[in-house]
Each structure stands twice: as structure tokens, then as C-alpha cells.
Symmetry: C2
Subunit: 110 residues, 2 copies
DNA sequence: TATTCGTATCGTAAAAATATGATAAAGGAA
DNA sequence: TTCCTTTATCATATTTTTACGATACGAATA
């Protein structure tokens, strides 16, 4: 019996991209956020500097504080990083669960 | 002996993001290209419709032909797809080698 | 309370992305 | 050759992104 759920899949295809709806939107948003050189650098910085504050990243990058803050917001909203208020500062770190989800999904659909 | 190549790596870190230079640029470009809902849909379409032409994708998507052509150009320049002239048309397909590279790299660095 | 520190947000300007209709160019058919 | 088909590119408008200085706000300090 053929149901609406079935799909004809090319056995020679190099990937399935079997994702849709909210998961696809989440995926696209994560792709978009990391598709920027500065934000990729911020992610790399967080690997070697876990639990750092905004000022550390501002020192590291050659751009204005306001711009760094904006990039951090984009990364946080896409789920790549976490930001926790610690007194007057904000402590940033990699969002392990979401990163693991992304890695797993890429492994699944590509 | 400590050399310039050595890096202090946090063993609890969830990823290494150990990539740089041209490979990092290539990675960011691929992220950027797929960080768009329409282009992601085009990629999904190509999975189920290997070796299709521009007109097929134009029929499938609710956007103008010129816009589809631009999106195809972005995907091609980022390395996600191939485009081969076949008579008056252009035959598009997934770029298997580059997709495999992307998948492998994501598995390595995340 | 007044001040300083750290950072997010506001207002704005410039650059890039997205979208469209019109056009051009190239291949095949009449 | 002339016409039709197909698609890329052009010119352009709109939206979004990126960047900055200025400002506001909360937390800690004097």
C-alpha cells in the first residue's frame, strides 16, 4: 500500500535533506547565523575561552562593542551560544545541547 | 618544548572548531548560502529531482525566474550544486564531493 | 546617594541581500 | 534565416544586514 508519507528516494543521492517544518527553520537559522566570518570567529574564541564576558570578545575583535553585542545576540537567538548575566557583565559560552543537535542533524540529513 | 602550533584545548569543550584560512572561508560561505529558506528548499528539491533544469525549479517555487537563477548562482558559487549547460537549458544537481566534504568537516570540528 | 563598570539597545548610515520585469544570448526547430 | 525556448544577466527597488557612536540600564562600589 502506498501512503502519502512515502517518498521516492534516489539510492544514488548523496544526501536526503530529510527535514521539514520547525526543525528545518531551526536548521536554516543556525546556518545563517554561522554564515558570517565575524560570528564564526566568535564561536572559535568561545571554544578556547569558555565562560568569557562580552568585553573579552570586544578586546579580541577589531570591531566596536555595539557590533559585537549585536553578533552575540544573533548567535544566541540562533541557539549557538548561551548568555548568562553575572553581576554587571554577561557570561557567554557555547550551547552544547544545540551544537550537538546540529552536528547530529547534519550527520543524518547529509 | 612548546611550539607556536600548540593550543590549550578544553577537554570539556563540546567542539573544537579546529579550522582556519581557506577552509574556514569555504565553510562560512557554505553556511551562508544554505542559511536562506528558499535555497534550502532548492537543495531539497534537487535531492528528489536529480538532474533537473532551471525551469523545473521555477515551476516548483513561487518566485520569479530571475530570482531562482540568482539563488542557483549563489548555491553553485558556494559549491553546493553543479550546473551543466545542456542545449538551451542548464542541468543542475547536487555537488556530491563538496557536500561530502562539508559533512565530514562538520563531523570533525563540532 | 553618587559614581563607575559592563553591556544592551537606540538611532542611523552604509553595504549587501533579495526580488522583480525587461532584456540579451545561445541552442534548437520551423 | 526566422522563430521559439530556456536561462543568465541587467537595471532597479525594497528589505535586511552590518557597523558605529551615543545613550540607557542594572549591578557593584565609593
Amino acid at each position: 500500500m502506498v501512503t502519502i508519507q512515502e517518498q521516492i528516494v534516489d539510492p544514488t543521492a548523496c544526501c536526503t535533506l530529510d527535514i521539514s517544518g520547525a526543525e528545518q527553520e531551526r536548521m536554516v537559522a543556525m546556518f545563517k547565523a554561522l554564515g558570517n566570518p565575524t560570528r564564526f570567529e566568535i564561536m572559535k574564541y568561545l571554544v578556547t575561552h569558555p565562560a568569557c564576558i562580552t568585553g573579552d570578545i570586544v578586546e579580541f575583535l577589531p570591531i566596536a562593542q555595539a557590533t559585537v553585542s549585536q553578533h552575540l545576540k544573533v548567535l544566541r537567538e540562533a541557539g549557538w551560544i548561551t548568555g548568562v548575566t553575572e553581576g554587571p557583565a554577561t557570561c557567554y559560552g557555547l550551547h552544547k545541547e544545540n551544537i550537538a543537535w546540529f552536528k547530529d542533524k547534519v550527520g543524518e540529513i547529509f
